[in-house]
């Protein structure tokens, strides 16, 4: 099952709008028709911090419609802070779209999407495409607290059923979103997920138990983002669709399974059953 390939370039864009969803979470809308034209659900870009003094930052493409694309930023360090500080009219540069997105080609009809925190940014396009293709789509969306769930209505508008959870119980289910998802009696035929690593591992486990296929969008520290440095790897099953097509000693030091694939290039979306983490 080959995943979607991207067609990338360096983009110089202008900030159209900037919305603070919650303290430290910002959506930046950009005039980026060229990106909109080529980006696919699950793609990401490498955003170049305005001062040019810092390394570029991987960001999922959140919205892409008409001439506007947007990114959702959680301010966690100096690079995301610098990017989140841009004002309308200012310039933002990035290169992309990059990576292999979600594989939505297989006609799944009942899809559950599980998202944690700003992981939500990487699944909206997928939700829209699935609904457009006739699938019934549910979003399970978890965050630390209510304020962070601000953009859930975008999924409702897209035609998804939305189930929320907060760690502090300030909205929806009180607890982890994966606990809520695990309770479902309406078994989906596909799960997509994006969020922190522990959440993805939990999704992976639940999907295995339910015997459903799952696609996970992974996050790691990136350097190049384009597959050039082999810094962002994860163990996958040798011979899987996403394993690199050349010989490698395995992680066991033998010529066996598993081997390392690049998250930025072979991913960031992986089939759960091909991962060996």
């Amino acid at each position: 099952m080959p995943l979607v390939q991207s067609s990338a370039a360096v983009h110089t864009t202008t900030v159209l709008d900037r919305t603070e969803l919650a303290p430290g979470v910002v959506v930046i809308g950009l005039h980026a028709p060229d990106l909109v034209a080529v980006t696919r659900p699950g793609h990401f870009v490498m955003a170049i911090p305005p001062s040019g003094e810092r390394a570029s930052v991987a960001l999922g493409v959140y919205e892409a419609e008409g001439e506007r694309a947007s990114f959702m930023l959680a301010v966690v360090g100096s690079r995301t802070r610098e990017l989140a500080d841009v004002a309308p009219g200012e310039r933002v540069e990035f290169f992309g779209p990059l990576g292999n997105g979600f594989d939505l080609s297989q006609g799944h009809k009942n899809v559950a999407i599980v998202a944690g925190g700003v992981g939500i940014a990487s699944v909206l396009l997928a939700a829209q495409a699935l609904v457009a293709g006739g699938a019934r789509v549910r979003l399970y969306y978890g965050a630390r607290t209510k304020a962070l769930l601000a953009d859930a209505d975008k999924f409702e508008q897209a035609g998804c059923a939305v189930h929320c959870a907060t760690d502090d119980g300030s909205l929806g289910f009180s607890g982890f979103i994966t606990d809520l998802f695990a309770k479902t009696e309406d078994r989906p035929d596909l799960v997509l997920a994006c969020g922190p690593s522990p959440m993805l591992r939990a999704v992976c486990k639940i999907a295995m138990q339910m015997n459903i296929q799952a696609q996970l969008s992974l996050e790691e520290t990136f350097a190049c983002g384009v597959g050039a440095c082999w810094g962002c790897v994860i163990p996958v099953e040798r011979g899987s669709a996403q394993a690199p097509r050349f010989p490698m000693l395995s992680t066991d030091g033998n010529r066996g399974d598993p081997v390392y694939a690049r998250i930025c290039r072979e991913g960031p979306v992986f089939w759960a059953h091909e991962l060996r983490w």
């Binding site: 810092r54 990136f222 790897v233």
Partner: protein, 316 residues
């Protein structure tokens, strides 16, 4: 027209900019972002005798003005490489320089001989600044005798230009440089990454799967620049300066210190157009000063210790 071409021994480069080994894949990864005919050449990821999985993860850690990496030479090994990879390089619009890494002196000779035979490969970079299992974790470039042996052997198996890549993690890099030159190197790459580490204070564990890694990026630029300056005063062969070069100004510092060409690694990660911006800025600089070629500035900050007070000078 301002002439930006340079030569490293018999290797002619249209531009003085190489893309650093391990940072640029085989160039294909960057072809959609910049016109590869505008860079001098691409140094390929180092290749070893056997396939290598590389190091355990994580392999990358961001640090102030730089980054740590410990990739561990993940690569398919020379057999697969010659059969499947090298032919893809035939139509690259710039020089393609192979990089070889070994775990014994013999490895270097074996891989260099096989790789250098291929017409797609214009020159060989001998990466002796990678670990040497044979001598217990030390790298070849930390030992003048091993440096000499590796360079003599690789020299004996090919006439193609040999660039020997040195490590900054030594007491006296100029002494190693002289060994490499005397053993037949056509040029020297100065420097590879600086050994460093980072610790996760929540997990009480090194952040890199490999514990230690190599520091690259702007943080090491002043260290690399001094290394180039000192090596330039000790050898007669050309130097490929590298370590944290991001802007035209950075590149000019290295030319003035004595580098004939430069390599760009980490800066590509921030912005793939960095190599173009650097070349443009260097060209402007030369034009504004009515300088015809890079030769007119190479090594020109390489002043003697002319300062009257130098005799008591130090870094205290």
């Amino acid at each position: 027209m301002t002439d930006l071409s340079v030569s490293l021994g018999k290797l002619q480069l249209a531009f003085p900019t190489l893309m650093a080994s391990g940072c640029y894949g085989s160039g294909e990864e960057y072809a959609s972002f910049i016109d590869l005919s505008q860079v001098g050449g691409i140094v390929l990821k180092s290749v070893t005798r056997w396939p290598r999985l590389g190091n355990a993860t994580p392999r990358l850690v961001p640090t102030p003005s730089g980054m740590l990496n410990a990739i561990g030479l993940q690569n398919p090994g020379i057999d697969w490489y010659l059969e499947h990879e090298v032919r893809k390089f035939a139509d690259r619009p710039c020089a393609i320089i192979g990089s070889v890494a070994g775990f014994s002196v013999d490895d270097y000779g074996y891989i260099t001989e096989r790789l250098a035979r291929r017409k797609e490969i214009a020159a060989i970079e001998v990466n002796i600044s990678c670990p040497n299992v044979a001598s217990e974790g030390e790298t070849f470039a930390c030992d003048p005798q091993l440096t000499k042996k590796v360079v003599e052997l690789t020299r004996s198996v090919t006439d193609k230009p040999l660039i020997v890549k040195l490590s900054p993690n030594v007491t006296d890099i100029a002494a190693i440089a002289v060994q490499a030159q005397d053993a037949g190197a056509d040029a020297l790459a100065v420097i590879n990454t600086v050994r460093a580490m980072s610790i996760d204070v929540d997990a009480w564990r090194p952040r890199l799967g490999n514990i230690a890694g190599g520091l690259s990026g702007a943080a090491i630029r002043p260290i690399a620049l001094l290394a180039v300056y000192e090596v330039a005063r000790a050898v007669r062969i050309p130097i490929v300066g590298q370590g944290g070069i991001e802007t035209p100004n950075d590149a000019l510092e290295f030319f003035l210190a004595g580098a004939t060409a430069i390599s760009i690694g980490t800066a590509n990660f921030t912005d793939p157009r960095a190599p173009l911006r650097i070349v443009e800025g260097v060209r402007d600089y030369l034009q504004q000063r009515n300088l015809k070629s890079l030769k007119e500035i190479t090594g020109k900050a390489n002043v003697g210790f002319s300062n009257a007070h130098q005799y008591e000078g130090d870094e205290g």
